[in-house]
Amino acid sequence: YALQGSRWRVRDLTYQISKYPTGLKASDVDEEVANAFKVWEDVSNLTFRPTTTGKVHIDIRFEKGEHGDGDPFDGRGGTLAHAYFPIYGGDAHFDDTEQWTIDSFAGTNLFQVAAHEFGHSLGLSHSDVRSALMAPFYRGYERNFELDDDDTRAIQALYGKRESPSQSTPSRVPTAATTRRPSTGAGTAGVLCSDASVDTIVTMADKNTYVFKGSQYWLLTDSSTAPGYPRSTTADWGGLPGNLDAAFTWSNGKTYFLKGSEYWRFSNMTMDPGYPKPISKGFAGIPDNVDSAFVWSGNGKIYFFKNDKYWRFEPTARPPVGAKYPKDVSNWEGIPNNIDAALQYSNGFTYFFKDGMYWRFNDRTFRIDTADPPFPRPAGYWWFGCE
């Protein structure tokens, strides 16, 4: 960790949100900001209190572009926020053009970014420990956020350890939906209802989820398939063939489809130039004819499944597939061999599909979720709107 060199002389700090974001309810922002302060309050001898009157220690604002401090925000992406060290006032500014979200893999998680910025407000600089909250790069939503030891040591170096139990609200509990809604039976699934096995399912960067089977595809709604489907895969996806093997959307927003020894890359529903390419070129170490692929929320890496084996692919590593791979699918407790499809859905859970049934994986217990009714469940009823 790194300390900037200044700190607050007092231990009881006040804050206010003087300008709220345009995309969230004020009460939700209040709660997330309080949760972010509590991250530091839990491990240090500091307390934080919101106030709407008088002078405060830390002023919080959501602003666009140039906002008076000579350090303009740059629109969506790029710089998300910045904050001043104690000697410069401690204020925290967030780019209001970002899509700030709460308990969602979409957009940018307000809680995590706020907790990071408040670290600056308290005197912490950026850490070169990648797992630290004070690392400068946004890692995506982490459903089970935990402060790194590096961060704890940093804040305690400035303010000491907590001497009495934290008085504020209990630790945050994610409120994201945990269960896919059962279908209403009013969908357009057709052939999916007579045989609910699928080739692949993928959620795109725009959060639309598509099911591919044979030469057709369907757009999913929350509990069924959308009107107007199925449609032709080849006609709507720029010549993409049917009978796909696997698909996934990576953190760069691109969606990749695999079939046989080739893969295709899409920006939304438009195929990028130069595709298809050989899997051996783009995904060195991954075999042809995979069963499925998905990006796991636990670490952001791409997992490829084939028969009773799986491979973990880390694009920025050299080599991208470690020497320990492939490993046995049985390491994923409860997941069968030879799966048809897998995806991480918008509620953050990873789902596996085989022979018309599906399983929901719990990445905290690292096994299939226990639920009523139990998994596997029929995909036709729960996903495709079949009676």
Binding site: Q4, D59, K64, G65, E66, D69, G70, D71, P72, F73, D74, G75, R76, G77, G78, T79, L80, A81, H82, A83, Y84, Y88, G89, G90, D91, T97, T108, V113, H116, E117, H120, S125, H126, D128, R130, P136, F137, Y138, N252, T316, R318
Partner: protein, 92 residues
């Protein structure tokens, strides 16, 4: 009014702007904004420093993973503090 747009890192010029913004260019003599000549060694050292900070392979070259890391969403505060405009910021 048009808002500023994100700096897309695509090559050496944009990378140097990024490295300067986040504190890796430690001398006005290596400031890409003032037209001063940049030594190859200074540029390589700045890239090495960034790669070390970000936990990347330290090649000193603007390779793909370095560019990808530079294009990731991030905090606007500097990584290396002690010089540059950010340290002169005041609250009010």
């Amino acid at each position: 009014e048009a808002l500023p747009t994100k700096l897309e890192i695509s090559g050496t010029t944009t990378a140097l702007l990024y490295l300067d913004k986040f504190g890796y260019m430690n001398s006005t003599a290596t400031n890409p904004e003032n037209g001063a000549l940049l030594s190859e060694a200074a540029v390589r050292q700045a890239i090495l420093d960034f790669q070390a900070f970000a936990g990347l392979n330290q090649t000193g070259n603007l390779d793909q993973e370095t560019v990808e890391m530079m294009n990731r969403p991030r905090c606007g505060n500097r990584d290396i503090i002690g010089h540059g405009p950010n340290t002169r910021r005041r609250k009010r």
